[in-house]
């Protein structure tokens, strides 16, 4: 049995083993072993040159990562949470995402930034938000959301091969999930969405931390005779529109589950694409299950109430049935 955390560690180990130019840097990734213990033991294995602790300045070490990438390295930068990544927004959005375009393709930024995202662990409003949608908005970036052990294990290597900056969102509630992972598990495709459960009556579209919420809802719905298909977006930018619309064209109903806030969300983008592409196949309005529009509460019952739960998804699907 392997945890998501261990799968991610294996991915970093593979990257550092296969490519001399690859290295990991971030706050507490070395001696402490990573805030979420992803890099535990890697300092001993690869040494301080390649597992680098940084000062508490996201802007500085992301900027350093961009510089290293421009100069031919393959940096993996870890940011503690998506909330803190806002301190490096200028580096990510104004520099990493633009340089290739502004230099007419002369300079690529083959940088990977890993960051924790999402709520569910009582870490309060400054550590719990889901801002994946913001990054998915930016041309020049690729945004990935591994929701399974295979993706945690397999997305990092192809991300490093991408000549442009890639952001990997690791949902905080996933690190401890456990399961079987094949010994030869390796790189996966990072362009397409995946059908995690086939079904005929409704398509539940989700990603990252709420992917298992979607699966749980599908399981419950099966008990009442509703066959729900669950799509894991996996790649938030660019979105795999084809997989989404071919499913909805068949099921005629869609529920999008997104831990981001509804307003201006990734869910809104998916919904819009469904309307644009398969409007005449819809048998009900597209429904969304998103987080309550409040800064994430600390108290457990409030936090639970604020984020999408299985019962919310089931209810949304049932509403579509009329």
């Amino acid at each position: 049995m392997v945890t998501y955390r261990e799968a991610m560690r294996q991915a970093i180990r593979e990257a550092l083993t296969r490519d001399d130019r690859a290295f990991l840097m971030g706050e507490d990734v070395g001696r402490y072993g990573g805030c979420y213990a992803v890099s535990l033991g890697l300092l001993e294995e690869f040494g301080p040159e390649r597992i680098r602790d940084t000062p508490l300045s996201e802007s500085a070490f992301v900027g350093a990562g961009i510089g290293a990438a421009l100069n031919g390295m393959r940096p993996i930068v870890e940011i503690m949470t998506v909330n803190f990544s806002l301190l490096a927004l200028d580096q990510i959005v104004n520099n990493a995402a633009t340089l290739s375009y502004m230099s007419g393709g002369q300079f690529n930024v083959p940088l990977v930034i890993r960051m924790t995202t999402g709520a569910g662990r009582q870490l309060g409003a400054q550590h719990s938000h889901s801002l994946e949608g913001w990054y998915a908005h930016i041309p020049g970036l690729r945004a990935l959301a591994p929701a399974t052990l295979e993706d945690a294990r397999g997305m990092l290597w192809p991300a490093l091969q991408d000549p442009d900056p890639v952001i990997i969102f690791e949902h905080g509630t996933l690190y401890n999930i456990e399961g079987e992972l094949a010994d030869d598990a390796g790189p996966v495709d990072i362009n397409t969405a995946a059908v995690r459960r086939p079904g005929d009556d409704v398509t539940i579209i989700t990603y990252g931390g709420t992917m298992r919420t979607g699966l749980g809802a599908a399981e419950q719905l099966a008990g009442s005779g509703v066959s729900a298909e669950v799509i894991d977006l996996r790649c938030l930018r660019p979105l795999d529109t084809a997989t989404i619309v071919s499913s909805v064209a068949r099921t005629h109903r869609a529920v999008i589950v997104d831990e981001g806030w509804r307003t201006g969300s990734l869910a809104a983008e998916v919904s819009a694409r469904i309307m644009e592409e398969v409007f005449y196949d819809l048998d009900a309005p597209v429904a969304r299950v998103c987080s309550a529009e409040v800064p994430m509460p600390y108290a457990k019952h409030l936090e639970d109430a604020a984020i999408p739960q299985v019962a919310d998804v089931v209810a949304a699907v049932q509403m579509l049935g009329g």
């Binding site: 409007f279 005449y280 196949d281 819809l282 579509l320 049935g321 009329g322």
Partner: protein, 431 residues
């Protein structure tokens, strides 16, 4: 805010015409109150409202025919009212000041021949803007200039898929009743309409003088559906009415004319009580499963002299005294014949009784009214040679029949039901 919608006044109803509004905007209404008179192909009915509040707006004019489910009026409900009741804006006092007009706008008005004095400004503080002048300068009737797609569409809410399918399959969406979210017409409604259609002529718009033909068509559609969907079985038994007839004669002897009872009342009451012993005769078939009903609302088939038949309900017949039932029956038959029935009477009978025999025939094998599952028929009361206790005598008798849904019950239970009616009639004093 609540919506008052065109109710379904029977399984076969697709549309209704507002014959008369009994309320106007601003009127206070109470749950259960009669707010409108609705004409259907089969009859005219008083329609109850299910919310209390204030009528906000009437959306459908008298004489207009709309599909079931169409919003007829907006009702501001009590709680909503409390929240939204803002103080009305103070009425303007004194004469209105002349409109404020900028030099540019004044010049534009002069050029395009617009009288500024008659314009009401839409700008800040009532200022007349360029746009106001341009609008006034345009010839009216620009509605006609709008493209057809911008004018909106009538008809029920429907999903994009339902619309596409309806167009492909040639189904008239406005005739469908939606089962989807917010009452929208969805794919399954369209597919169902296609399945049902082959042996029904599409309903044509109904002129009032065609009422009789429309009614015939509505009955035809409903009965065709019944015969198509319901596997009927039929049972018949002859019941000796000596005891109830004697009881009735004795009872009526002591009563003034206006208080007299008729045999139909005893037959109705006995039927209503008999379902207690065989509950699978009383209720509804829906979505492939039968739901028996606690309440016994007996539909009474009333034939109209102008042709046609309707079967409105008397509610809770099992709990009524014979006198109450007599009053109810008199009222119901009278209103059915004059054409003013209530919503609930048309939509919720749980079993139907037909008394066709009064007009001559001995035996009636009826067709079940969907979604009900049983219909009891009583033939003419005739004197017959009847053997009892080893003696042959002349007894008043009636043939009682049962048409029942084989998906719900079988002949054994049906037989038990008729036997129970017989047993109950033999003790008329207890009815």
């Amino acid at each position: 805010m609540g919506d008052f919608t065109m109710p379904s006044l029977g399984a076969d109803m697709e549309a209704g015409t507002i014959a008369q509004w009994l309320v106007k905007p601003g009127d206070e209404v109470h749950r259960g109150g009669i707010v409108a008179v609705v004409e259907t192909e089969k009859s005219t009915m008083e329609v109850e409202i299910f919310e209390s509040g204030v009528i906000d707006e009437l959306l459908v004019h008298e004489g207009e025919s709309v599909p079931v489910g169409t919003v007829l009026a907006h009702v501001t409900t009590r709680t909503a009212e409390a929240v939204t009741a803002a103080p009305p804006p103070p009425p303007p006092s004194g004469p209105l000041p002349p409109p404020v007009v900028s030099p540019v706008v004044r010049r534009l008005a002069e050029r395009s021949g617009v009288d500024l004095a008659v314009l009401s400004g839409s700008g800040l503080g009532g200022t007349v803007t360029r746009a106001d002048v341009e609008r006034a300068a345009q010839p009216t009737g620009d509605e006609g200039a709008r493209p057809e797609w911008a004018l909106g569409r009538a008809g029920p809410r429907s999903s994009p898929l339902a619309r596409r399918l309806a167009a492909e399959l040639g189904v008239d969406l406005s005739a469908l009743r939606g089962s989807g979210p917010h009452g929208s017409v969805v794919e399954r409604d369209v597919r169902l309409a296609v399945e049902v259609r082959p042996d029904e002529t599409p309903p044509a718009p109904v002129a009032p003088e065609d009422r009789q033909a429309a009614m015939r068509r509505a009955i035809g559609a409903l009965m065709a559906r019944s015969k198509r969907e319901i596997p009927h079985y039929y049972l018949s038994t002859t019941i000796d009415l000596t005891a109830p007839a004697a009881w009735l004669e004795q009872t009526n002897l002591e009563r003034p004319i206006t208080g007299r009872l008729i045999m139909s009342v005893l037959l109705l009451k006995a039927t209503a009580l008999a379902v207690k012993a065989v509950p699978e005769m009383n209720g509804f078939m829906g979505g492939g499963t039968f739901a028996s009903s606690e309440a016994v609302h007996v539909g009474v088939a009333v034939s109209l002299r102008t042709g046609g038949v309707i079967a409105p309900a008397i509610h809770n017949v099992d709990q009524l005294t014979l006198d109450e039932l007599m009053t109810g029956l008199k009222d119901l038959v009278g209103r059915a014949r004059t054409g003013v029935l209530r919503t609930s009477e048309m939509s919720d009978p749980t079993i139907t009784v037909t008394n066709l025999g009064e007009l001559g025939v001995e035996t009636v094998f009826g067709v079940i009214y969907p979604p009900q599952v049983a219909l009891v028929g009583f033939g003419r009361v005739t004197e017959r040679a009847w053997a009892r206790d080893g003696m042959l005598g002349v007894h008043p008798c009636v043939t009682a029949t049962l048409s029942a849904d084989h998906r719900v019950s079988d002949g054994h239970r049906g037989g038990r039901f008729l036997a129970e009616i017989d047993r109950l009639l033999q003790e008329p004093g207890k009815l």
